[in-house]
């Protein structure tokens, strides 16, 4: 009885083996794209699966953005139970590599998949490296932009002849514009997500970059020298809006968007990833006004906007290595995604893959084209294990920057505390 | 001490009537027993007197006060519950003192009364124990003590003996009798045990189906039951009931013909009986003797030897069964043919409206 059962098992295995070898590779995929851009990504994945039917199939899971995603990635990598490929913030890369969560991608593998560093902006490509080794392939550049309610701005005389907002550059000009908008009957001049450190960090880092301020200098010191003063200035800009009632205090993320889409605030600073939200609302006719998005105004010396990159990375799989065939399939997925990233631009992002970015289709895509300047003026998070999404720097932004913006702590003291806290965490 | 008067008392739970128009008077100092099967309403009646159940109609008077609107504590009654309902976290002393503390009795007075009750009930050595450390009988004495210290106008006992084992129950029964003799307080005692009722009561209220069947002294209840139910419920073994084939008259007394065609002369005047002649014959086993001269014969199915007497379950020719009595040293065996002598003078007749007729 037992014997025949064994025989049968062996036989069936033998029969199945070649079939398995020829069967399609299943690529397990994790991402953190839960918003409007997640819908676009799912469409891309479906398209991939359709085109590669029988060869490669992506099985995707979307997890909670931020700390939950990265802790799960890290713990699962350590026991070899992670996905085959995942989305990853380039800002987070140093921390990811230092905790051993990421697997190096060799030049041979890239070449085999038809990818090369030359296809990406150099700074972007380098940001996917640690100690000269490649750990990720950039997918997009994303940033924060200024969303505007064209009807309200026009009423306040803030729309120029070219149909775009005007008169917003400079700290005082901008504030005056906010006042004008508020006086014009809006509840707030501008809506910002003021209840959390991450959103405030993006604005702050842009304003710091516009002054050529360095958050972390080459010697590993936080806010050294006059960088502290620049940081205080950057913080004060936003804190003043809140103090004067031009921007809402301690407002949560969904509420900050609702203030804009509901017409209560004619301006809104948020990531490009909310472009789909606006597009969809406008398409359904639920927005009630004409909207647009431009790069952040220049408050200080020159344009600069915080930016980060979504990239693709392969987690380490300790004790559970994948086959070379599977890795090849994963690289093919990454290459395909980049080559088809024009669709990803629908999600508001700027494709990292230069051939797509330079294409005519992208150059005429709105509103991306209006703010595509920020690809050139992007300032990326400091390259440090303490920086990046869900990092100590983000926590510190919540602990010091957020309360400073909301008037709970004086900006000077907030920046000093932030500096000391982060410096104290340097090992 | 006070009398208790119930006037047309009624009670229902939703649609279900549990007490219907009950009236009675319990004399001052009387030991009254409410007797009946479970569900007959006797406990509900007691709880209505105590104030633990509202009444939906009628009046209750204790002494010269109408009490049916008063909360339990103001009715001046004390109650001993079936499960004693002692406060489990309090010592014997605290259990007995609690009610007195509630009405702000001076400490010395409380101590005096508790000590007296403890002495009476032989609880002195247990006074600092908690109920969990006491036996069933001891708990019961504590429950009585808790009632005594309040010096109530009346005691209400709700099946207080039912949780005791047989030996203890018999002993405690005697203690209850003694307690009543000593205190001479009005007491109402609810039980389904007819022996408790017979031995303790001055008067018994027999209840069935939410109604009073009969109120009377134990001997009245026993010898002149007012209904077939009372006749059957009181007395052990139960009264024999036999269908009457034909009713006739001999010298003014009724003669019944039983299903096996034997005829028995009763002590009941024919003139009192209903004209339709439809009656059931009832006779207690002690009035049916096994005798060589007996007029009725049958076969002994079961023989119970109780020591001082023997009970024989005799099957008559028509298959009806009669319980008969024989002397302690009876020689009859199961299967024996026996002759029975019916003492018609102490028999009973019940008509179709359940009116009972007893001799004399």
């Amino acid at each position: 009885m037992m014997k025949s059962f064994l025989k049968m098992a062996l036989l069936s295995t033998a029969l199945l083996m070649p079939a398995v070898a020829q069967a399609q590779e299943v690529v397990t995929w994790w991402d953190f794209l839960g918003g409007g851009d997640g819908v676009r990504m799912k469409a891309l994945i479906e398209k991939f699966n359709a085109e590669n039917a029988g060869k490669i199939e992506i099985q995707a899971t979307t997890l909670e953005w931020g700390t939950p995603f990265y802790t799960k990635v890290q713990t699962s990598a350590a026991i070899g139970e992670g996905p085959d490929v995942m989305t990853y913030h380039l800002s987070r890369l140093p921390l990811g590599v230092s905790s051993g969560a990421l697997s190096e991608i060799t030049t041979d593998e890239l070449t085999a998949a038809g990818l090369s560093g030359a296809d990406f902006a150099e700074s972007n490509w380098k940001a996917a490296q640690v100690d000269g080794k490649q750990y990720a392939v950039p997918f997009d550049i994303h940033s924060v932009v200024l969303y505007y309610n064209k009807d309200k701005l026009a009423a306040a005389g803030l729309i120029g002849d070219n149909g775009l907002p005007t008169g917003l550059d400079g700290v005082d000009n901008f504030k005056a514009a906010l006042q004008k908008l508020k006086d014009g009957g809006s509840e707030y001049g501008i809506s910002i997500h003021s209840a959390a450190g991450d959103s405030q960090w993006r604005i702050f880092y842009s304003l710091l970059g516009q002054q050529d301020g360095q958050f972390l200098d080459a010697d590993g010191n936080f806010l050294s020298g006059d960088n502290l003063d620049k940081a205080v200035k950057a913080t004060t800009v936003v804190a003043d809006w809140v103090k004067d009632g031009l921007a809402p205090a301690a407002t949560e993320y969904p509420a900050s968007i609702a203030l804009f889409t509901g017409g209560k605030a004619p301006l809104h600073i948020n990531g490009v990833w909310e472009v789909p939200t606006m597009t969809d609302l406008a398409a359904k006719g639920e927005l009630g006004f004409e909207w647009g998005a431009i790069a952040l105004p220049t408050f200080f010396d020159h344009p600069a906007t915080w930016a980060d990159s979504h990239s693709f990375a392969i987690p380490n799989r300790v004790g559970n290595e994948v086959s070379p065939e599977k890795r090849a399939a994963v690289l093919q997925v990454i290459a395909w995604m980049n080559k088809n990233s024009l669709a990803w631009a629908d999600a508001g992002h700027i494709p990292a893959y230069s051939p797509v970015r330079d294409s005519e289709e992208f150059k005429t895509k709105q509103p991306n084209a209006t703010y595509s300047i920020l690809a050139d003026t992007a300032v990326f998070d400091p390259s440090s294990v303490l920086a990046g999404v869900a990092s100590p720097v983000y926590d510190a932004a919540g602990n010091y920057l957020m309360p400073a913006v909301n008037g709970e702590i004086d900006p000077q003291s907030a920046m000093e505390q932030m500096r000391d806290d982060l410096q104290g965490q340097v090992e | 001490m006070a009398d208790i008067r119930l006037v047309n008392v009624s009670k229902h739970f939703g649609q279900v009537r549990v007490i219907e128009n009950v009236s009675m008077t319990i004399g001052s100092g009387e030991f009254m027993v409410f007797l009946g099967p479970s569900g007959c309403g006797k406990s509900t009646l007691l709880r209505m007197i105590a104030g633990l159940e509202d009444i939906d109609g009628g009046e209750i008077h204790i002494g010269d006060r109408r009490v049916d609107e008063l909360p339990p504590a103001e009715r001046g009654v004390a109650m001993v519950f079936q499960n004693y309902a002692l406060y489990p976290h309090m010592t014997v002393r605290e259990n007995m003192s609690f009610g007195l503390q509630n009405i702000r009795t001076p400490k010395q007075e409380i101590a005096k009364r508790v000590a007296a009750a403890a002495k009476t009930l032989e609880l002195e050595h247990l006074i600092d124990r908690k109920p969990g450390q006491l036996s069933g009988g001891q708990r019961q004495r504590v429950a009585i003590g808790r009632a005594i210290v309040r010096d109530p106008k009346a005691f209400l006992f709700d099946e207080p003996l039912s949780n005791l084992d047989a030996g203890l129950r018999a002993r405690t029964r005697i203690e209850f009798a003694q307690l009543h003799q000593r205190l001479k307080t009005t007491m109402i005692f609810v039980t389904h045990d007819q022996i408790e009722a017979m031995t303790l009561a001055d008067r018994i209220v027999v209840m069935n189906n939410r109604k009073i069947e009969q109120i009377g002294t134990p001997m009245e209840i026993y010898s002149r039951p007012a209904s077939r139910f009372v006749a059957a419920f009181v007395g052990s073994p139960s009264m024999n009931f036999l269908a009457v084939q034909q009713l006739s008259d001999r010298d003014g007394k009724a003669v019944v013909r039983l299903p096996d065609n034997s005829e028995i002369l009763t002590g009941i005047a024919s003139s009192r009986l209903p004209s339709d002649g439809q009656v059931t014959f009832g006779i207690r086993p002690e009035s049916v003797k096994v005798s060589a001269n007996g007029a009725v014969s049958g076969k002994a199915d079961v023989v119970e030897r109780l020591g001082e007497r023997t009970l024989a379950y005799v099957r008559l020719s028509d298959n009806s069964v009669v319980i008969a009595e024989d002397e302690g040293q009876s020689r009859i065996n199961v299967g024996d043919q026996v002759k029975l002598d019916f003492d018609g003078a102490s028999s009973h007749l019940f008509d179709v409206r359940d009116v009972a007729y007893s001799a004399g």
């Binding site: 026991i79 602990n399 909301n406 | 009654v77 002692l86 247990l126 036996s135």
Partner: protein
């Protein structure tokens, strides 16, 4: 109340032998699954955690032995102090209020009858079955500083909308209130079970004894429900010392250094900063705190009850 005769002085017949071999074997077979699971899932990880606390180590993987350095660091760590006092504050805000409120509600619910009782009990119990994420969303929306339905009420008192989760003095009390709302159903259930265990005859006896409502509560209900109260207090104490989810969710993105509890410090050290050794150290200390507090509390309360 059973009629068991515990007062008899008759000694039990002396047993010849306390155990026989078969009984021991059977007992072993019955306890073995639990012992194995307990050892594998509790004892072993606990020992590992203690061992890890003597190392400078990442969350996963080997580290270097550094003796008691982590502990020395811990007692100098300002954040540990904050997390400790926040945790204690939260325990103070929740444990006793949750217990007393649950008792009060249970007494109220217990007086209701039939379907009304079931309905009210369900109302109080439903929050307990909600996952923390739902609780977070529901209250997050209700308290939202811009659109929260509670803000008109708050504005009535405070004069303006108040972002309660971004106002430090309000943070812990609000989260504590939400926690009590969320978890009280279970305590109510325990109390109702306890109250139902008190024989109605005892209350009838009390009624005949002329007990006032207040004395009935203080002298009868409260002492008789005390064992359940001790149980609820202890469960609450342990649960609330482990506070994490609500504080993390409501505080996320905000001043987490000022609002974090001890478990959040463990999470941040071990998971966010990949410092497994230090995280383990905080965990060991929290473990000891809970053991000491709960044993102390349980003993003290029980002793009082036994008086």
């Amino acid at each position: 109340m059973s009629a068991t005769d515990t007062a008899t002085d008759v000694p039990l017949p002396a047993r010849k032998k306390r155990f026989n071999r078969n009984e021991v074997l059977a007992a072993l077979i019955f306890v073995l699954p639990f012992v194995v699971v307990y050892a594998v899932l509790f004892i072993y990880p606990t020992l590992q955690m203690i061992w890890l606390s003597f190392h400078k180590a990442p969350l996963i993987g080997p580290g270097t032995f550094i003796g008691l350095d982590n502990y020395a660091k811990l007692f100098k760590d300002k954040l540990f102090g904050v997390a400790f006092w926040n945790t204690v504050y939260f325990v103070v805000l929740t444990v006793v209020p949750a217990t007393l409120t649950a008792l009060a509600i249970a007494i109220g619910v217990n007086r209701l009858k039939g379907w009304m009782q079931s309905l009210i009990l369900a109302c109080f119990f439903i929050p307990y079955i909600l996952p923390v994420s739902v609780v977070f969303r529901v209250w997050g929306w209700m308290f939202d500083s811009q659109f929260g339905v509670l803000q008109p009420l708050i504005a009535l008192v405070a004069g303006d909308n108040v972002p309660v989760f971004r106002t430090l003095p309000l943070f812990m009390p609000t989260v504590a209130f939400i926690t009590v709302w969320w978890t009280i159903g279970f305590n109510i259930l325990l109390f109702i079970a306890g109250l139902r265990n008190i024989s109605p005859e005892i209350y009838e006896a009390a009624a005949l004894d002329g007990t006032s409502k207040w004395r009935q509560f203080t002298r009868i209900t409260w002492p008789l429900i005390w064992p359940v109260t001790v149980l609820v207090l202890t469960i609450q104490l342990i649960a609330q010392f482990k506070i994490f989810d609500q504080v993390y969710l409501f505080g996320n993105g905000g001043r987490s250094d000022a609002t974090m509890g001890l478990v959040q410090l463990i999470y941040r050290s071990a998971f966010q900063k990949n410092n497994g050794g230090y995280g383990a150290t905080v965990a060991v200390v929290l473990f000891l705190i809970i053991v000491v507090f709960s044993v102390l509390q349980f003993q003290m309360l029980r002793a009082r009850g036994e008086k």
